[in-house]
């Protein structure tokens, strides 16, 4: 600058000097040549000589000049830096609060940015770590991360962080007086004024005891395991929030932001606070925005499964209910049937260890419950029976038992009423005899009437007897020789005797057949008696030759004692004969 001025002086001297020089011709020439420019040059020199004007001129181009130079190199910055530092130092020495308050609003965001960068780095390394861990949980979270387009670590953090802000205090730093306070709904608090006082007293205590620097203030208080108090400092007041659970670090940033904005808008009131808290009522909505809470978000994501599971459960329950009801009613019906069944008395029934158990008394003749249970749709293997045998005294059981014991042939019908067993129809002699013996020992039978049962054997026996007893074998006169031509008759007799004997054995009755010899009335009685005997013996001999056993046959001669009562000659022949008689040695 000084240099410029010198040159100017020199220049003007030159001009004035020229005017007084002897070489006037040159001066005139110069005037002629440079006439119009001379005026301009004078104007320029005036501008340079006037500092005000010069400053104004420089200011017009200063910004442009700096810009141009800055683009070229950093000489300007280097030139100014020392002065700037000096200025800042002086300013801080004079009044630190001014600078602090000035940069306070930018400080917060700057720090926040630095921290979030740091957290980002941490998250990335966390991501890497978690990428290597593998579990069902992490799979689910990974899926969620893909779905929500968040980083996996963020999702993990989200799941681990649950918290609720219960109270927010805004406390005047200098007096420790509470400026504003909000509570999460439903919560109860001790007098917030006292809490505020104590909080600031504790801060003072901590600061006095441990901290030297102004920034060394309490920022976290732990209460037991579940609660924390976060303190966020501002120049004039601080925010204290009571939090249940673990809040995320971003919440710290929210608090910082809140303190900053409150300070930006209310600094004056806070600085001049004299106990009147009314102006701070308007902070309540701001503080309420700090009453944050976070719940596990997964519950929402899981909701599809959450209602699916009960649905399946309910359907399953309904199905089970129906099946159970059906099974119960089957069982109920079966039991009813079983209870009403005769010959069965149930003493105990129920479900035990997966199967049905029935205990009671059962007549051996009662219907098999297994077939019953099949009819009611209950698989017979699902029921276990514990029967104690007994005899039922009901009529049909006595009858059934009797029929069971007597085994009557189909031609016999047996009935039972009032202790009396009756029978009718036809049966063999032997069956009737046995039945009469057995029937007496069957319980419940006090009387028997088998009168109406016809003994078929006896009938047949009597027929055979009648036939035999009507037979006559003829002899020659005064001889024990048979009249010829009786072969058919004797064959007949032979068959009848065999049948009678057979039947008698079957009926277990001893049968005796008598051959009775006869004579006519000619000759002496003694002679005739002997002859009649010989005739019977002769017939027996004759029959024995035809393989008839003589056992059970009695030979008898009665002479002329029972003649036919006619004198007719024809009857003489009848009297020369042998007749038969069947004797049974048993009362039939």
């Amino acid at each position: 600058m000084d240099k410029h001025r010198d040159s100017t002086v020199w220049h003007s001297n030159g001009i004035t000097g020229a005017g007084s020089s002897p070489d006037e011709g040159i001066g005139e020439l110069r005037d002629l040549l440079l006439g119009p420019e001379k005026e301009k040059i004078e104007q320029i020199s005036q501008r340079y000589n006037n500092p005000d004007q010069f400053a104004r001129d420089v200011s017009r181009i200063l910004a442009e000049a700096i810009k141009i130079r800055d683009a070229k190199d950093d000489r300007i910055a280097r030139a100014i830096a020392p002065s700037m530092e000096k200025i800042l130092h002086q300013s801080v020495k004079k009044n630190p609060a001014a600078l602090a308050n000035a940069i306070y609003p930018v400080l917060g965001p700057a720090i926040r940015k630095a921290i979030s960068t740091a957290i980002l780095g941490m998250m990335q390394s966390l991501n890497h770590l978690l990428n290597n861990s593998f579990s069902l949980q992490s799979l689910r979270w990974r899926y969620e991360a893909i779905k929500t387009k968040k980083s996996f670590a963020e999702v993990v953090l989200l799941h681990t962080l649950i918290y609720q802000v219960e109270q927010v205090f805004f406390i005047h730093r200098k007096t420790g007086l509470m400026l504003a306070h909000v509570l999460a709904n439903g919560d109860k608090s001790k007098d917030p004024d006292l809490v505020s006082g104590m909080l600031s007293a504790i801060q003072d205590f901590v600061h006095d005891s441990f901290g030297g620097e102004d920034e060394d203030l309490l920022d976290t208080l732990r209460i037991g395991n579940s609660r924390t108090v976060w303190v966020e400092q501002g120049p004039f007041a601080f925010l204290a929030v009571v939090i249940r659970g673990t809040p995320p670090m971003e919440f710290r940033e929210d608090l910082r932001e809140t303190v900053e904005t409150i300070h930006l808008q209310n600094a004056e009131e806070m600085e001049q606070f004299n106990g009147d808290t009314t102006p701070f009522l308007r902070l309540v909505p701001v503080l309420e925005s700090c009453l944050q809470f976070k719940v596990k978000e997964t519950t929402k994501k899981k909701s599809v499964f959450l209602w699916l599971v009960p649905m399946v459960l309910i359907i399953g329950l309904c199905f089970w209910g129906i099946v159970h009801y059906q099974r119960m009613s089957r069982w109920h019906n079966f039991m009813q049937e079983l209870r009403s069944a005769s010959g069965i008395t149930i003493t105990e029934a129920g479900r035990r260890s997966g199967g049905y158990h029935i205990a009671g008394l059962k007549d051996p003749l009662a219907a098999d419950p297994a077939t019953l249970s099949d009819r009611f749709g209950m698989p017979s293997e699902s029921v276990t029976y514990h029967w104690t045998p007994y005899l039922s005294m009901s009529d049909n059981f006595i009858l059934a038992r009797a029929i069971d014991a007597l085994e009557p042939p189909t031609s016999v019908e047996i009935n039972y009423t009032d202790g009396k067993l009756t029978g009718k129809g036809f049966a063999g002699h032997r069956w009737i005899r046995t039945a009469m013996g057995i029937v007496k020992v069957i319980p419940g039978i006090s009387a028997v009437d088998f009168q109406s049962i016809v003994d078929m054997d006896t009938v047949k026996f009597n027929q055979l007897r009648d036939r035999l007893e009507s037979k006559i074998v003829y002899f020659m006169e005064n001889s024990k020789r048979l009249l010829p031509g009786q072969e058919e008759n004797i064959k007949d007799i032979l068959t009848i005797i065999q049948e009678i004997r057979h039947l008698g054995r079957a009926m277990e009755v001893p049968v005796n057949i008598m051959f009775i010899g006869h004579t006519d009335s000619k000759g002496s009685a003694d002679y005739n008696l002997a002859l009649s005997r010989e005739r019977a013996a002769q017939l027996l001999n004759f029959l024995t030759d035809l393989h008839i056993s003589p056992v059970g046959i009695t030979v008898l001669g009665i002479g002329e004692s029972t003649p036919t009562d006619s004198d007719d000659l024809r009857y003489e022949k009848i009297n020369r004969s042998v007749t038969f008689e069947v004797v049974v040695n048993d009362a039939m």
Binding site: G176, D204, T278
Partner: protein, 166 residues
């Protein structure tokens, strides 16, 4: 709503806690439990139609082991200096504290309480010293936390001064 911070100052066992308890909860106990650090209580009073919250900082007594923290005094609107009428030494302590308050906070509203007046037969303090204090300090009230005598008055006087400044 107006809130004012008031500090209770004095030597140990002069009855600072007892005066606060009498004033706030209307109770008195013979048991002595020394205050460590500070205990804060609140009393809401009405002045005309306005409500006033007194936030009472009951500080620990000043003795050779425990000094009253200056930081606790910060922002106080008034001080209540308590003297134990049975112990002369408590006067010296109070004056020392008064000096510290004025150094840090300037001339803020203050009242003196000559406590345990119910034990006046054991009164140890020289009557001349008391008279001198009464003359020099505008507000000087005889109190007993035990009987309740002067307790309302001493706080009322302090509030009046504070509100005059407000």
């Amino acid at each position: 709503m107006i809130k004012k911070k008031i500090c209770m100052l004095g030597a140990f066992a002069v009855g600072k806690t007892s005066l606060v308890q009498r004033y706030v909860n209307s109770i008195f106990s013979d048991r002595y439990q020394t205050t460590v650090g500070v205990k804060i209580d609140k009393k809401t009073i009405c002045i005309g139609t306005r409500k006033l919250d007194l936030i009472l900082w009951d500080l620990n007594g000043e003795d050779e082991f425990q000094e009253v923290r200056v930081s606790y005094l910060r922002g106080a609107s008034g001080c209540l200096y308590v003297i134990d009428g049975t112990r002369t030494a408590t006067v010296t302590t109070v004056l020392k504290l008064e000096k510290r308050v004025i150094e840090n906070l300037g001339n803020i509203p203050s009242v003196f309480a000559l406590n345990k007046i119910d034990l006046s037969d054991q009164g140890e303090i020289d009557t001349q010293l008391i008279a001198q204090l009464e003359d020099n300090r505008g507000e000087f009230v005889r109190t007993s936390a035990k009987t309740g005598q002067g307790v309302e008055t001493v706080f009322q006087r302090l509030v009046q001064q504070i509100m005059a400044e407000h």
